[in-house]
Symmetry: C2
Subunit: 356 residues, 2 copies
């Protein structure tokens, strides 16, 4: 397995020359100057990433990283912890939100058990080739009492995420979406956001799957204690991940690094995926060149994370499900951007007069 | 042909019972309560419109209404007027933005000549069955000097739009997008917006296809004179259309009325389509029950129009092309909403525990 240092060294910035060439093509399209706004930015960045004027994101996959969280004991979630394993089974049965959206955008869904409590190895799964098991541990430790995981486990989670994403890219996937499943995982995500973005807990800790006022108070208290007990170093992504993160969040960070390393686009989803991107960005800021923010979540802290990463979300539809749904749905808009770029005639080809 | 009064009388509000039933189904989906935000609202409204819990918007069409504008003489556009006819030919050749997006979302494109100057009847068109000719006149009159069209022509444009949309619905189209082409048509649209929404010209008149500061001043002046000379009655949609509108805008108003009359969804695009919706809404406010706003345009006045109609746009991507592109692109999001509604398992089906 590649080492983290080697991965980070191998990440190059996006190719500005191809972006310039792409902007020149956009300027010739038979429409007023840059009349399709963000769609042009998306297609041009894809040209820069793929080093081509014929970008393609037809072959899509979503990697849903799953993990459990010791901090659930502190009463931070509206759902019982066994829902994590039950939802993973629902993903494998094709019956969850991410399955419906992925079918629509023609993305393949892979679920990676990065460390859930449930043991699914004995199950007769209808699509077991779409479950990858890398159970680092049966859930993290309660980070209000100490580190969520060891430094070694944190690195392992990133490297396994990198490995899984790499496999998909090597199999021809042109764009990868990240997703998450893990009851309680808005709590570590908020802790990561608060530490790295230096944003107050009143803004960064939200209701997640829908906790009531008391639950929200417990969440804020848990994150506050976690930061106090663990003192994570904001500029050290591995330290933040180990102390207040989660296995699936490390896996997502690995996916983000893989996109940048292999020069392929990655679409992050909402609050948890963006926490993973924050870890990756702390390790190597260049990753954002290859990152697209699928949407802005209803979870209050998400906007602050996106601002920190200087990413402008494609959709803003009040979604807060996770699983990768917002990222996968935004791929349809990205495909629109590509279609415009590749299929619209130039003024010359169309025989239309340009501006007077 | 049906008469306008008969159409308006035939429009019924959306069925609230089906929306209630749809909300009950949403509540059972294996995800936190209404975790997909706007997607739920979209699917539930489609259930109300189609009176079913199995909504479908697979069969899609976009009607691009085209017209020319006498006010172009006042120097309100960055493009010469012959571009209208040239772009219509580009639509028919499949080479414009709306064609690229429509291919992606599997929508059929029909272009309706509601009153352009160019005569395309003799052309050897590759897809001439997709051009419908209802040339009311060769462009409107310059409305800074008097009415843009007669009251009879205004009614005719609406009825012809209604007729074309009706044909598509009768041929099995499940969702219709409106589009526009007409050099200069942000000027009548701004006039309609200013009159009906009672919003100042500084806010309602924008740069359209990209006029410079002097062009913008000429546009504001033209709209100001048009309103002063014609004194359109804000509560009389037909009067506003005749005095400061356009033939394609009347056609779009007819499409909007047709959706409501036949109880089928209509997706409006940007500034010009929404001006058409304002005319339809002035004639019959119930039309908004059946209307979806595809996106919020970069054109500054659009937000005020959408606020007036109480429509929340699905996308907000800085687009300002028209042609129906924003509406067509948003259909992919609406399909996502439908997929979620129909394909996600319930908590019970998935065997997942609901909230504690």
């Amino acid at each position: 397995m590649m080492q983290l240092e080697e991965i980070i060294k191998g990440i190059q910035p996006i190719d500005q020359e191809w972006i310039t060439k792409a902007r020149e093509r956009t300027a010739q399209l038979v429409m007023p100057t840059r009349a399709l706004g963000r769609l042009h930015e998306i297609s041009e960045r894809l040209c820069g990433i793929q080093k081509t004027l014929q970008p393609s994101i037809k072959r899509k996959a979503v990697l849903v990283m799953a993990g459990d969280h010791g901090v659930v004991n502190a009463g931070v979630s509206a759902y019982p912890q066994e829902v994590t394993g039950a939802m993973v089974q629902t993903f494998l049965a094709g019956g969850a939100g991410i399955n419906a959206i992925s079918r629509l955008v023609a993305a393949e869904v892979f679920v990676v058990d990065m460390g859930i409590i449930a043991d699914l190895s004995g199950l007769d799964l209808p699509a077991s080739d779409h479950l990858v098991t890398h159970k680092i541990a049966s859930g993290t430790a309660d980070f209000t009492q100490g580190a969520a995981m060891s430094s070694r486990e944190a690195e392992q989670s990133i490297l396994l995420g990198f490995q899984e994403a790499t496999k998909r890219y090597q199999n021809g996937v042109e764009i990868l979406g990240t997703g998450d499943m893990g009851i309680g995982n808005t709590t570590p995500s908020a802790a990561i956001g608060a530490v790295i973005c230096d944003v107050g807990l009143d803004k960064m800790v939200g209701r997640g799957t829908g906790v009531d006022d008391e639950g929200l108070a417990r969440k804020r208290d848990a994150v506050s204690r976690a930061i106090e007990v663990n003192k994570p170093a904001a500029d050290d992504g591995l330290d933040v991940l180990a102390k207040v993160g989660g296995f699936e969040i490390g896996g997502i960070a690995g996916c983000v690094l893989a996109g940048a390393y292999h020069q392929r686009p990655v679409v992050i989803d909402g609050f948890i995926s963006t926490a993973g991107a924050l870890i990756a960005n702390a390790l190597c800021p260049t990753v954002t060149d290859y990152l697209f923010a699928g949407h802005c979540s209803e979870e209050s802290g998400h906007r602050f994370m996106l601002d920190y990463l200087k990413l402008d979300p494609i959709l803003d539809l009040g979604m807060r499900l996770g699983e990768g749904t917002g990222g996968a749905l935004s791929m349809s808009i990205m495909e629109g951007a590509v279609s415009i770029f590749k299929e619209v005639l130039t003024f010359e080809e169309a025989g239309v007069a340009d501006k007077e």
